[in-house]
Assembly symmetry: C2
Homo-oligomer: 354 residues x 2
Amino acid sequence: MNLKDLASLLGLSPTTVSRALNGYPEVSEQTRLRVFEAAAQHGYVPDPRARSLATGRAKAVGLVIPVDSRHERVNPVFGDFVAGASDTLWARGYDIMLTLTSEANEANSYRMLAARGRVDGLVIQAPLIHDWRIGVLRELGLPYVVHGRFSDEDQTYSWVDMDNRRAFRRATEHLLNLGHTRIALLNGIRGMDFAERRADGFLQALRARGLEPPPEYLCNSRMTETYGYDAATSLLRSEMPPSALLTSSVIVAMGARRAIETQGLRMGRDVSVITHDDVLTYLLNDGTPPVFTAIRSPVRDAAELAIENLLTLIEDPSAGPIQTLLEAELVPGGSSGPAPTNPPHGRTRDAYQI
Amino acid sequence: MNLKDLASLLGLSPTTVSRALNGYPEVSEQTRLRVFEAAAQHGYVPDPRARSLATGRAKAVGLVIPVDSRHERVNPVFGDFVAGASDTLWARGYDIMLTLTSEANEANSYRMLAARGRVDGLVIQAPLIHDWRIGVLRELGLPYVVHGRFSDEDQTYSWVDMDNRRAFRRATEHLLNLGHTRIALLNGIRGMDFAERRADGFLQALRARGLEPPPEYLCNSRMTETYGYDAATSLLRSEMPPSALLTSSVIVAMGARRAIETQGLRMGRDVSVITHDDVLTYLLNDGTPPVFTAIRSPVRDAAELAIENLLTLIEDPSAGPIQTLLEAELVPGGSSGPAPTNPPHGRTRDAYQI
DNA sequence: GACGCCATTCAAAGCGCTTTGGGAAAGCGA
DNA sequence: TCGCTTTCCCAAAGCGCTTTGAATGGCGTC
C-alpha cells in the first residue's frame, strides 16, 4: 500500500493525500479526516526513504561509537546514552542509526561518510585526545555534537560534557578536607579526553595543598572490576599505602572495594573511596545513603542535552556551536570517611610531601 | 556531487557510471577504472536513500531493544550484542538502525512499523514470556530473528538462543556433585523467557535427586549488584542458609560475593557460587582461573549468529525459519568447591528434603 | 452577468539512484 | 561485402514521496 494506491482508493490525488497526512492547511477538514481514516484502516505508513529523498531530510541521527579494536570493547556508557537519547528522538520523529568505528583505518572514514544522506546529524561518543574522526566530520559537513570534548581541537564545535576537571578537583578536595593526604587515582586509559581532564583536576587539588602524588598513585587502565581490584591491592600492599582512592567508574570502585575487604580493611573507615558515577542502569549506586560516595553525572542527562542540541543544529545550522558544560554532584555515601589516624597494616608513614 | 554530476564530468551516462561502480560486467575495465578514480577523487558516495528506493533493499537491519519503562533500564546485553553484530554487518554493507520500545503502548507498534522500508530485517532482543511484539512482527512481513525465544509461541520462527535450561541443569548438577544440596537460585525477573527456562533447568536437576528447594531459594529480580548482595545476605542469614548460589549474571554474582565476604565467609569454601556469564566486556570474568565458576555463553557469538541468520533470511526469505541453539560452557573458577561439612554460622541443619 | 477571490484539489516535475530494453560500433566468419 | 554476434554504452522509466504552479468550482460583489 503506497500513497498512490491510497489516493486512488479515496478518489483523490496523491498530492492531496500527502498534504492531508502532513497537516498542510490547503485541505478541507472533512477530506483530512477521510484520509486519516483510510490510512489507519489500511495500515498505510509513508515510506521513509522516499520521503527522505523528496524532502532532503533523513529524519534520523547517527550515533558514532568507537570500538576499542584491540579489546573489542564497546563503550559501556553507550547503552544508557541511547536510552537517554531515545525519548526525545522518538518524540521528534527521528530514528537512530548506529555506526561503530574501530580505531583509525581508512574504511572507517568511508563508514562515516556513508552516513551522509542517511542521517541529518551525528553524535560522537568518547572522543580521544587525538581523534581521527574530527577530520571526517569536518569533511562531511553534517551537524554534529560531541559527547565529551576533543582536547586538541581549538576550533569551535558543539559539545556536551561534564566538568571532569572540576568534579575530580572537588572530590579530591573533599578527601583532603577529611584529612586524607595519600590519595590515589584509578583513572581510565590514557588517550581518552576525559581521563586527562580528571587527572588534571586531581593534581590541581593536591598541588593547591602542596602535595605531589608519587607516580604509582596515578593508575591508568580500561575500567574493569579486575583493574580496580588489582590496582587497589597493589597500592594497599605497597610501601606507602593510600588512605583514599578516587576511581573513574563504579565498576572500578567495586573492584577496589573487593581489594579493601580482602585485606581485612573496611571501606569508609580504613580506606575511603570516591568514585565517578555515570548512573548506568546496570551499575546503580543507589540506596540511602548510596554505597559509594560519588561524583555523579548521569549519562542520560548528557544524552538528552546532546540530542536536544543536535536537533537544534539540524533545524537551524546557523545556530552556531552549542557547548554545554554539566556539573557533577557530589553525593555522600558510605565509602568515605575521615582519614584514619593510624594507617592500616600497622605501618606508620608520613604523608608524602612535595 | 551526485551520480549525474559525476557522469557528465566523465562524459558518460549515469547508467554506465552506476554499472561501473556496482560491478556489472557490461562495462569495459578501462572505463570502470576511470569511474572509480573520479569517484574517489571527488569523494562521491551514492545516496543510500535513492539507492534503497530504486533497489527495494534498504541495506540496513533494525535492532529492537526493549526498555523497561518503569525502571528506564536498557538491556545490559545490548552493547555487546551490537559489537558482535557490527563486524558482519559492516562487511556485508549493512547499517544498524535502533528502535527502542518500552512496554506495550500503541505508539510502539507504529514505531516498529515505521521501520518498514528503512530496514530489510529485524533482530528482536530480550523476548518476554508474552511478548506483544510478535503480533507486530507478523504483520510487518519483514524477516526477523529473535535473540532468545518467545515461550508461548508455537509457530515456527527464527531464533538464536543458548540452552538456558540445560546450562542451569548442568550447573546445578555440578554443585550437587560437589555435595551441595542447599542451592539457591538468584534469577532474573519473572516474565523474561530466559529466566523461566533457567528456573526450569535448576529445578529439573534438583528434583532428579529428589530435592525440592524451599520457595525462598528461588529469587527473582532485576539483575543488579545490590540485588545480589541483598538476596545473598538474607539467604545466608536465614534459618536454612544455602551452601551454594546460582546467579543469573556476573553482576549479581559480584553482589553475592560481597554478601558472602561481608559475613566473614569465604566464597568457594564456605559458600559456592556459579554464575551465568554473557561475557560482557565491561564485566569480564577472566583470569586463570576466573574469579567465578561460570556457565559461559558469549553474547557476541549469539549476536554474530543472529545476524548471519538474518542476512540469510533477507537474501532468501524462503530459507525458512532458522533456529540455532547454543551450548554454554561450564568454566571452572575459584568460586565453587566441595560443600562444607560444617555449615557456616555454626548452625547444623539437614539438607532440605522433598 | 462578469469579475475577483477564496477554498480545494490536481498534474507534473523532481529527489538520486537502478534497471530494462535497446542501439551503435566493432569484430568475425562466410 | 554482408549478416551476425559481442562489446560497450545510453535513454528513459520507475522506486514513493513532496512540492510547485495551475486548475476548478463556488461564492459574494459590483
